[in-house]
């Protein structure tokens, strides 16, 4: 018996299409527990924790009843994961795995990328519709876009409560923002609005405001570590936190094209054009007192941005630390020493600014 949900390897799959086709989306996340089945087949140091867990689930039959496993083209590791999963099925290594679908959304600025992306988004819609037996009309899609946009607006209101004078810790807000991807939009609006009222009534938090950047974080272990030193994480790069909602999807004659445009422009991952990430980061620096750069061992991409970011931070006299640990493992004692020193330096600068 097939369950009415799809599993995606990264939040770069249009949830509006998933819902319009009659499914719920569940996003793959990492964890600190071991992945012995996946470890036998995945080369070390290449696949991030979330993909190792996805493969573990695939090889141990835990994805046998989902409608589809969707792998967006978020990173090379995701693409390789798609090819590996297909090969596991072909060779009988995975004996009970739902069909695996590649959502090949490209993000470069080439002239033909848009046509490609619209066509691939349409192909995803067709695939899911065929699977559910329910082909959504353009109105169905627009309805889902409207519902998701309402959820985006609610998420943006939560984000505003972290801005300039934060009233909630990153540890508290991050899961609320991340829930955007998986919770029904109407329910999400209720939940976020309730949280918004609760948070708005709180007094402002006075610790140094921290931007968490580098590789996108999927959980709040780093938030907890940073905030244990008295700082407040007010923004994090990636689709799970501050970037979960982004801008609304336009309501358009061609809702598939509108969705392709939105996800092409807003999906955050290893293939996001560097200049758009750089612009976002530098914009964030206006309202933070310190920066933590997370570059986990599987990072092959975001480390390239570090020297330029470091130079900007030095020029703006913003303290920062660079952490190399797995984001699903608690930071080491040495990491905490660095974080403590960074927060202390940021606090002193904060006090100096306040006179």
């Amino acid at each position: 018996m097939q369950e009415p949900y799809v599993v995606a390897s990264w939040p770069a799959v249009p949830v509006e299409i998933v819902r319009a086709a009659g499914f719920r989306a569940v996003m793959a996340r990492g964890a600190s527990d071991p992945t012995p089945a996946a470890d036998a087949h995945l080369e070390p140091g290449i696949f991030p924790n979330r993909l190792r867990h996805l493969v573990e689930d695939a090889l141990t039959g835990r994805l046998s009843r989902v409608a589809r496993v969707i792998i967006p083209r978020t990173s090379d590791a995701d693409y390789k994961c798609f090819l590996y999963l297909r090969e596991f099925v072909r060779t009988g290594v995975a004996t009970a795995l739902a069909p695996v679908v590649l959502f090949d959304l490209l993000q470069s600025r080439g002239a033909d990328v848009r046509n490609h992306d619209v066509a691939r988004t349409r192909a995803l819609l067709d695939t899911l519709a065929l699977c559910s037996g329910r082909m959504p009309s353009a109105d169905d899609l627009r309805r889902e876009i409207t519902r998701a946009n309402a959820a985006r607006a609610a998420a943006r209101r939560l984000v505003a409560l972290r801005h300039i004078v934060p009233r909630a810790t990153g540890t508290d807000v991050f899961p609320l923002l991340a829930a955007f991807w998986e919770v029904d939009p109407d329910r999400y609006v209720e939940m976020a609005s309730e949280a918004e009222s609760r948070i708005a009534a709180r007094p402002p938090l006075t610790g140094p405001r921290v931007l968490l950047t580098g590789a996108p974080v999927e959980g709040q272990i780093l938030h907890e570590a940073i905030e244990s030193h008295g700082a407040v994480v007010v923004a994090e790069v990636g689709p799970w936190g501050r970037g979960a909602a982004g801008d609304d999807v336009r309501i358009d004659d061609d809702p598939v094209a509108a969705l392709a445009d939105k996800y092409q422009a807003d999906s955050i991952g290893a293939r996001t054009p560097v200049d758009s990430l750089r612009r976002w980061t530098e914009h964030m620096l206006d309202d933070v007192d310190a920066v933590v750069v997370s570059l986990p061992p599987d990072d092959a991409v975001f480390g390239w941005d570090y020297p330029a970011l470091r130079d900007v931070l030095k020029a703006r006299r913003i303290p920062h630390v660079c952490l190399r640990g797995d984001q699903y493992q608690a930071p080491t004692a040495a990491d905490h020493v660095q974080l403590g020193a960074m927060v202390s330096a940021a606090s002193q600068m904060q006090e100096a600014r306040r006179g």
């Binding site: 087949h41 798609f82 470069s108 066509a119 092959a300 470091r310």
Partner: protein, 421 residues
């Protein structure tokens, strides 16, 4: 490093050095544009509008072979670029960005007019953007749509039925992108791409690769390997960067003829050959002596690498009524042929059997993450085919952590315990 056994190898090395000197002269003295490219970009398009092109990977291999890599890599480390970032595709960038840290070979790279890369792995966009910034030059990116359909025995389909090898939407995307690249090159060079000349060039590329195919057959079937793997690489790559040119065709023929003469005369790279080895992965550019280190002790000779074998199987395209589509079909799936399941493992096992391979050494690249994928599939497939495998952990351009003695000892042990039993 072992002496060169073939006259063709000496000629190929001399050609590359002279070609680069000519390039510098054209750029500096005649202010002509040139381009810096990833190895999997279609070089033919550049050559046909008279924009000479330098391969990033070739340049990295030269820097490493000239023992200049450590200085540039140290400079990268000192600038905060962590050690898990790919060093192979970025060594060229480092030789530009940290120019004063080392002594780049042959006077170093002049400023290109254009850089161009296929976005196969995630870091290439970063590396080439940084490199373009460092030069103040333009960057053209060729995105890489993923393959959803990978039919078996790609090396057979690719020659005549290449349209079936690449899904239509991927082929259309790459064709459209290459057309945009041509538009850009025509502006840069002031010359129009002659489509007939493109067809003619691809026909010559086919001829060149057919010659390499014949060389490959000679190597596979001769009683003993007639040409060392290192010399195969030098001869093949010198021609591949200018493939389809008059020099490339002439050199490919000369290489073939010399190999054939050696086979007919019973001349072997390693007389008394006992073990035929294959090397899977990018060449170990900083220690090419590794590949001849087991000849005298164990009569073990490296017979196969992808560099010669991939030419005929990856490049030949018959049916050139639409030459741009044929070129695009070759370009679209390089990464999948060489690194990804099911294609890479299937091809390598086929090659191993054809070449009567006794043992395979598989590179475990320390920092090249995309090239590191698919490795376990390849290792398993070879072992399943009865070919013992020894993984070798190394960075192909970074000698700083390379344990040359340890690696040689591991190979000796592998030969004695698994291959020569």
């Amino acid at each position: 490093m072992a002496d060169k056994q073939l006259a063709a190898t000496v000629a190929a090395s001399a050609f590359q050095k002279q070609w680069f000197a000519d390039l510098r002269r054209r750029v500096f003295d005649e202010r002509q544009p040139y381009a810096l490219l990833q190895a999997d970009v279609p070089f033919e398009l550049f050559d046909l509008v008279d924009v000479p092109a330098v391969s990033n990977q070739w340049w990295a291999s030269i820097v490493a072979a000239k023992r200049q890599a450590p200085q540039f890599l140290d400079a990268m480390d000192a600038d905060g670029l962590h050690g898990d970032l790919c060093r192979y595709c970025s060594l060229g960038y480092a030789s530009t960005r940290y120019r004063s840290a080392g002594d780049a070979p042959w006077g170093g790279l002049p400023t290109p007019r254009l850089l161009c890369a296929r976005l196969t792995c995630d870091c290439i966009h970063r590396v080439f953007e940084l490199w373009a910034d460092a030069f103040g030059a333009e960057l053209f990116e060729i995105d890489h749509p993923g393959a959803g359909d990978l039919p078996p025995r790609w090396w057979e389909l690719g020659r005549h039925r290449w349209r079936e090898l690449v899904e239509p939407h991927r082929l259309a995307f790459v064709v459209a992108t290459l057309e945009k690249l041509v538009e850009r090159l025509e502006v840069i060079s002031g010359r129009r791409l002659d489509r007939e000349a493109l067809r003619d060039r691809l026909e010559k590329v086919n001829q060149q690769e057919e010659i390499f195919d014949a060389v490959r057959r000679l190597i596979a079937t001769a009683p003993e390997c007639p040409v060392r793997m290192t010399e195969q690489i030098t001869n093949v790559m010198a021609t591949q960067w200018v493939r389809g040119s008059e020099w490339a065709l002439a050199h490919a023929r000369a290489f073939h003829d010399e190999v054939q003469q050696r086979v007919e005369a019973g001349v072997a790279a390693c007389p008394g050959e006992r073990v035929r080895l294959m090397w899977i992965g990018v060449g170990l550019w900083h220690d090419s002596g590794f590949y001849t280190a087991f000849e005298s002790s164990h009569r073990a000779v490296f017979v196969w690498s992808m560099y010669l074998a991939f030419g005929p199987d990856g490049y030949i395209r018959y049916g050139l009524d639409d030459p741009m589509a044929a070129l695009a079909s070759r370009t679209a799936s390089f990464n999948e042929y060489l690194h990804n399941p099911p294609w890479a493992a299937e091809w390598i096992v086929h090659q191993a059997l054809e070449h009567r391979i006794d043992g395979a050494l598989v590179l475990r690249p320390r920092s090249m993450k995309p090239a590191g994928t698919g490795r376990l599939f390849i290792e398993r497939a070879l072992e399943d085919a009865g070919i013992p495998v020894l993984p070798i952990a190394a960075d192909v351009v970074d000698a700083r952590e390379w344990d040359a003695d340890g690696a040689r000892a591991a190979v000796r042990s592998f030969l004695e315990t698994r291959v020569l039993q």
